[in-house]
């Protein structure tokens, strides 16, 4: 006996399981659930309705909760007591690798590849120094973040609360679940946005470049300071989107919708920079303008970059709108086919 609702349920469980055990656990669970449904149908003396099947699956638990019960085979981080449990460990591991790659590759590769006076001893020492300087604090910060999430999940039974009012009939079809927002993409987004937000918050003032010999100051116009808060808000919106897609991967419409909103916000924010007064000034220590020609060259370059970015954001907004429209268009025929399959399904 086959039921599309059960297939949807098993596919949703597989999403939360580690790759190595995914098919094996789902096959075993599927066999047991099929037996249970057959038994119940035999006891009722008739095929079960979709509502009854949904009730049995609901009793069994939400996909995320069921998958979490199988995570005992995963490693965990312990330090006297458990710091990061087996449920979060796969996410933690991906986050750790992505963070280290993001930090270390740009820091180490240029030193090894583009250094004309390559000195193995010095470069190896440099790599160790960079690892100690970047990787250890990153390891510490990522571990603390995941330990806090794990503590909150266990202390306040968050997983059980979040998944208490789920409906098996609302699960996407197996083919729809193949197009879910990828877990790795959400985790990578969370890491990148978090690092950016921390960095951006630590740079609230505009940089001033001083030329040693002449004592001239290259200073950004005060207009740039107005970018700080809006960019921070956009980064938080993107961060929220990645977190929501981690919990609700079936919300495929969320990334393009966020893309449209943030691109439009970027277009509005950057508008004052087009045809604006000089975007930079070069002055002496008393504020008298210097190097007028060089300053106007830098201003022209910055204006072109801003204009390019502005048009780029417009193109992004159009691409995101197209993707959103495509997802909306796709949803209708799939939904009607699935409803038809459900109507004709029996136990």
């Amino acid at each position: 006996m086959n039921t599309p609702l059960l297939e949807r349920y098993l596919t949703a469980i597989k999403f939360w399981l580690p790759k190595a055990q995914r098919d094996d656990i789902a096959a075993e669970l599927g066999a047991n659930l099929h037996e249970e449904l057959d038994d119940r149908a035999a006891a009722a003396g008739r095929p079960l309705t979709d509502e009854e099947i949904a009730g049995i699956l609901k009793e069994h638990g939400s996909p995320a909760l069921v998958a979490s019960r199988y995570q005992h085979e995963n490693p965990r981080v312990t330090f006297g007591r458990q710091i990061i449990g087996p449920l979060l460990f796969p996410f933690y591991w991906i986050a750790l690798k992505a963070t280290l790659a993001l930090l270390l590759i740009p820091a180490i590769v240029p030193a090894l590849v583009w250094n004309a006076n390559f000195n193995p001893n010095r470069e190896i020492a440099h790599v160790f120094y960079r690892v100690a300087e970047l990787a250890l604090p990153a390891l510490f910060v990522v571990t603390i973040i995941f330990a806090l999430i794990d503590l909150a999940l266990r202390r306040f039974h968050l997983l059980e609360r979040w998944t208490s009012d789920w409906d098996p009939r609302a699960l996407p079809t197996p083919s729809g679940q193949k197009r879910l927002v990828r877990r790795s993409s959400s985790i990578a987004g969370i890491i990148v946005q978090s690092i950016f937000i921390i960095w951006w918050m630590g740079h609230s003032s505009l940089p001033i470049f001083v030329f040693n010999k002449s004592g001239a100051h290259l200073q950004f116009a005060s207009l740039w300071a107005s970018l700080h808060l809006p960019v921070l808000l956009i980064a938080f919106v993107c961060l929220a989107q990645h977190w929501m897609n981690l919990v609700k991967p079936q919300w495929r419409w969320l990334p393009p919708l966020t893309g449209i909103i943030t691109s439009l916000a970027g277009i509005i924010i950057l508008y004052p920079f087009i045809n604006s007064p000089p975007l930079i000034t070069i002055t002496d220590s008393h504020g008298v303008a210097l190097y007028g020609r060089q300053a106007s060259t830098i201003h022209a370059a910055l204006s072109s970059a801003v204009l390019g970015l502005w048009f780029g954001l417009m193109i992004f907004a159009i691409i995101y709108a197209w993707r959103l429209a495509w997802i909306a268009w796709e949803a209708f025929p799939h939904q009607s086919n699935d409803l038809h399959r459900n109507d004709t399904a029996g136990i």
Binding site: L29, E35, R69, Y70, E73
Partner: protein, 114 residues
């Protein structure tokens, strides 16, 4: 505040009951798997013998006991359906013997205490 006291007592009782059952359930599962079973049949057999066990506890437990070497399993077709059958391994049998002896001692002690 009687209402909160009562809810506290229920929570406490449930936690203590879970702790009490945890070890005993493993012994029951191991003992029942002296005969081969698949997950659902084991659950219904245990329930028929008066030991209700949530599938969310039982199915992952079977996999854990297998990882620990106490059970062995094989996929086999029965009634046109592939199922994973579990049975006690050699080391599982030795451990079960020791656990049953331990359980008997605990029961005897508890009987003397109460």
């Amino acid at each position: 505040m009687p209402a909160s006291d009562s809810s506290f007592n229920t929570d406490l009782f449930n936690n203590l009951r879970l702790e009490l059952r945890r070890g005993v359930l493993i012994v029951a599962v191991l003992a029942q798997l002296r005969t081969e079973h698949y997950g659902y049949s084991l659950r219904t057999d245990l329930a028929a013998l008066g030991l209700e066990m949530d599938e969310g506890t039982l199915y992952p437990l079977l996999r854990r006991l297998e990882t620990q070497g106490l059970l062995e399993s094989e996929w086999r077709e029965e009634n046109n359906r592939q199922k994973r059958f579990y049975k006690l391994s050699r080391s599982g049998r030795q451990i079960l013997k020791l656990l049953l002896a331990e359980l008997e001692k605990i029961n005897a002690s508890i009987a003397r205490i109460i």
